[in-house]
């Protein structure tokens, strides 16, 4: 395995739905279950609010990984939102893979409000994967980096 360059600090954007995953993240926090600081959370009402453009934007601005978290299928606060997410993102992620963004850089996870431990474990695992993959430059728009 190649040695990972320590100079690169990865950037991970996590979209969390307000009702399950964001609450799961809160539980991880109040249980003091750590996960790497490179994970930054954006709160959305439902995972289905995540437009593929948001994911593209993240990679355009140099994100190394994007993860979506929602309620477990069948438990969506809005009944069916995460089903849309699941289908939509399966397509989106396979398209990104085609563009050269390794499929490991995108992930979708179902985390309930009670799964603080799972949230932390998922984030640790994802950050580890991203760290191993190293820097992602494939979609980065350098014009944005003045």
């Amino acid at each position: 395995m190649q040695e990972i360059t320590t100079t690169h600090k990865p950037l991970i954007v996590a979209f969390c739905c307000n009702w399950c995953s964001y609450a799961g993240a809160d539980l991880a926090g109040s249980s003091r279950l750590s996960y790497p600081a490179e994970v930054k959370i954006i709160r959305v009402p439902c995972s289905c609010r995540v437009n593929p453009i948001f994911v593209l934007k993240a990679f355009q601005r140099g994100a190394d990984g994007v993860i979506l978290c929602g309620c477990h299928p069948g438990d969506c606060h809005y009944s069916t939102g995460n089903y849309h997410t699941r289908r939509r993102m399966a397509l989106m992620f396979s398209m990104l893979n085609y563009f050269g963004i390794e499929k490991e850089r995108t992930r979708i996870e179902w985390v309930s409000a009670a799964e603080g431990a799972k949230f932390s474990q998922v984030m640790n695992d994802f950050a580890k994967t991203i760290n191993e993959l190293g820097e992602n430059r494939r979609l980065e728009d350098l014009r944005c980096k003045k």
């Binding site: 279950l33 930054k40 439902c46 609010r49 849309h84």
Partner: protein
């Protein structure tokens, strides 16, 4: 130009121990748009809130970012603070630097860096925030209950008791539902009619309750607090206001071939009939399929005999339109059809009956006047075999995959009642598992075994066939590892129950969701079990899932309390973070309408100016903010980008992404 204030909370040492709050304050003060940044020990405290209020006034802030605990904790607090200081409550953003930062990181450098990024992200978002006002709508102080079984009756009585008007719409000619057909109720064995009919009478006598019997919901429009419902009153050919329920017409009717639905078609009734003695309303109805007058214009006897002139052969369906603030769905169940279970011989043998048929056969008001006689020859059955799980827990496609829940208990009840009344009768029960959780339930079942000597056989029946007038029940006795044949006189099938098929139509009209078994879906399986996902629509009884009478009554009362809570409000304040449409971009493609789980989106034809003094009419989406719950499904589905969400706009989220990705 926005003037943003940033307030960084120490949360005692919860934040300040890991995050260098001074550095965060310094960094944020330099952010474009930020005119003021300060840190304080407890922002949520009285003093902290006062600090915010003062800063808003002093620095003429247009928005505030509070870097503190999770917004799930204190967002509401700081919104109130902002509002008290004259700011719009929605010009508040929270950067969660406790749960997402100080509590999970140990390294001060790392945590401080992250806190700054999170605060900047919140600033990026608030710069695009707009003042939002939650819309208000009035509430019609009347509830509609669809279905007049025990669930509907209980919900209606409770709502009426709180002083609100309730209408019950029942598709059958009388209220009472399935419970009215039962003989006794477990686990106390009190007579079903004795406990139900007083409630039915209460409904009839309450000046708050209005019963639309033999009626169906035709159309539902509107939203929580303001439903417009059209009700079809089917023609019963009898004037309800005149009929006294004397029954003279029934005695005079020459057509007696109609199947008595109330008695599960086990006997016949005249073409003009009152379903049962305690029917509410106690008004006759004519079955147009059987009535000689309606079929061939012969007869007319009942009209001549009726002392009050209530018979009206020319009556037609009529419609009533009313407004409601809340709707309770209580459409109930029916036993499944047994076409896929011919191994039990139901189709070919009159003495193979369903449990609901047995209820009628044992009921004092039933076809046998309460004496248990078998349908084929009217003799007392000496050996009775019960078969449980007929069609339940069946994933082969023939039956239902779920447990019907009530069968174990009612079978124990039947077995016990039979042994009590006819001690010389032999009773066998084939079971797969006995499921009797509930207060006094398992004790009840054990009583059937221990006190009444009912023979429970662990195993399933493979075939029931007639041999020399005996019903041969061939099944396995798994504990004995034998195949046994029990020559029986009567076989009772604990038939699975399914939601009444009318529920599909009702669900479509109310835009509430239905699961793969046609049960209505609740808003949250654990925490909102009586609410549908559609605001203002509530669920009671078996339409939501299999349940027995006590559970149904509890759920109905829970429903009523939810309805009362809603009707008690004069105004409903909505969530302002709802979808809105840019009509100039909308192409009217309908995709948003299809993904909306609440039916909040409709289409309107609207005139647009297209220059040169001309206008054109286009079909565009229109969001009802009172119905929209703000999930955002439509915003992503919209192919033209016309849909957006207040409070979580696409532009805001993109700015947040940018802020996070800024290295």
């Amino acid at each position: 130009m926005q003037r943003i204030g940033v307030f960084i909370c120490h949360c005692g040492s919860n934040i300040a121990a890991t995050v260098d709050v001074e550095r965060v304050t310094e960094a944020l003060a330099k952010e474009p748009g930020v005119v003021y940044a300060v840190n304080y020990q407890y922002m949520c405290s009285e003093n902290g809130q006062q600090l915010i209020k003062n800063a808003i006034a002093e620095h003429r802030l247009t928005g505030i970012v509070v870097c503190s605990c999770s917004p799930r904790m204190h967002e509401a607090t700081f919104r109130k603070t902002a509002e008290a200081a004259g700011l719009n409550a929605y010009m508040v953003e929270i950067a969660n630097i406790r749960e997402q930062c100080s509590w999970i990181h140990k390294d001060i450098e790392e945590a401080t860096e992250k806190a700054i990024v999170l605060a900047r992200t919140a600033v990026a978002k608030i710069l695009l925030d707009k003042p939002l006002t939650a819309g208000e709508t009035g509430v019609t102080k009347r509830a509609l209950v669809i279905g007049g079984g025990i669930a509907g009756i209980q919900a209606a009585l409770d709502i009426a008791d709180a002083g609100y008007e309730v209408d019950i719409v029942e598709k059958r000619p009388t209220i009472g539902g399935r419970m009215a057909q039962l003989d006794k109720t477990f686990p106390t064995l009190d007579c079903s009619a004795c406990i139900l009919t007083p409630k039915m009478v209460d409904c009839a006598q309450s000046d708050k309750i209005n019963i639309f019997s033999y009626s169906e919901v035709e159309e539902v429009k509107g939203f929580v607090g303001n439903f417009d419902v059209k009700i079809r009153k089917k023609a019963r050919h009898v004037d309800e206001t005149k009929c006294t329920g004397c029954g003279v017409c029934m005695a005079s009717c020459p057509s007696k071939k109609g199947l008595n639905e109330f008695n599960m078609n086990l006997n016949n009734r005249p073409a003009i009939y009152i379903p049962f003695a305690q029917a509410i309303p106690n008004v006759a109805i004519i079955d147009p399929e059987q009535c000689l007058k309606l079929k061939s214009d012969k007869c007319g006897l009942c009209q001549r005999k009726c002392g009050v002139g209530a018979i009206d052969y020319k009556q037609e369906d009529s419609f009533v339109e009313r407004k409601y603030g809340a709707i309770v769905v209580a459409t109930g169940f029916r036993p499944i059809k047994l076409d896929n279970f011919n191994e039990f011989g139901y189709a070919d043998n009159k003495d193979v009956v369903t449990s609901l048929e047995l209820e009628r056969l044992m009921n004092a008001a039933g076809p046998t006047k309460g004496t248990l006689l078998r349908p084929s020859d009217g003799k007392h059955p000496k050996v009775i075999t019960f078969i449980q799980c007929v069609g339940s827990r069946d994933v082969s496609g023939c039956g239902k995959p779920y447990c019907s829940k009530i069968c174990c208990m009612y079978t124990a009840k039947h077995a016990m009642l039979i042994r009590e009344k006819y001690p010389d009768t032999e009773v066998h029960v084939f079971y797969i598992d006995i499921r009797t959780p509930g207060k006094n339930y398992d004790e009840f079942y054990r009583r059937a075994v221990e006190q009444y000597g009912v023979d429970y056989i662990k195993g399933m029946v493979g075939k029931v066939y007639n041999e020399n007038g005996k019903l041969m029940v061939q099944g396995s006795d798994l504990l004995d590892n034998k195949q046994i044949v029990i020559p029986s006189d009567l076989v009772v099938l604990a038939t699975a129950i399914e939601p009444d098929p009318s529920v599909r139509d009702i669900a479509t009209k109310l835009t509430i969701s239905i699961d793969t078994n046609d049960f209505l879906t609740e808003a949250h399986a654990k925490l909102r079990p009586v609410e549908s996902p559609t605001a203002g629509v509530f669920l009671a009884g078996v339409c939501q899932g299999p349940k027995d009478v006590p559970e149904t009554v509890s759920q109905a009362s829970a429903c009523a309390s939810k309805v009362i809570g809603l009707l008690a409000k004069d105004k409903l304040k909505g969530n302002p973070c709802v979808s809105h449409v840019d009509e100039n971009m909308c192409t009217g493609c309908s995709q948003c309408e299809q993904v909306c789980p609440y039916g909040a989106i409709t289409y309107i034809d609207k005139e647009f100016r297209i220059g040169g003094g001309k206008t054109e009419t286009r079909r565009v989406a229109s969001v009802n903010p009172a119905v929209c719950q703000g999930c955002g499904a439509c915003t992503v589905t919209c192919p033209s980008g016309a849909m957006d969400l207040y409070g979580f706009s696409s532009a805001q989220i993109l700015k947040e992404v940018e802020a996070i990705c800024k290295r």
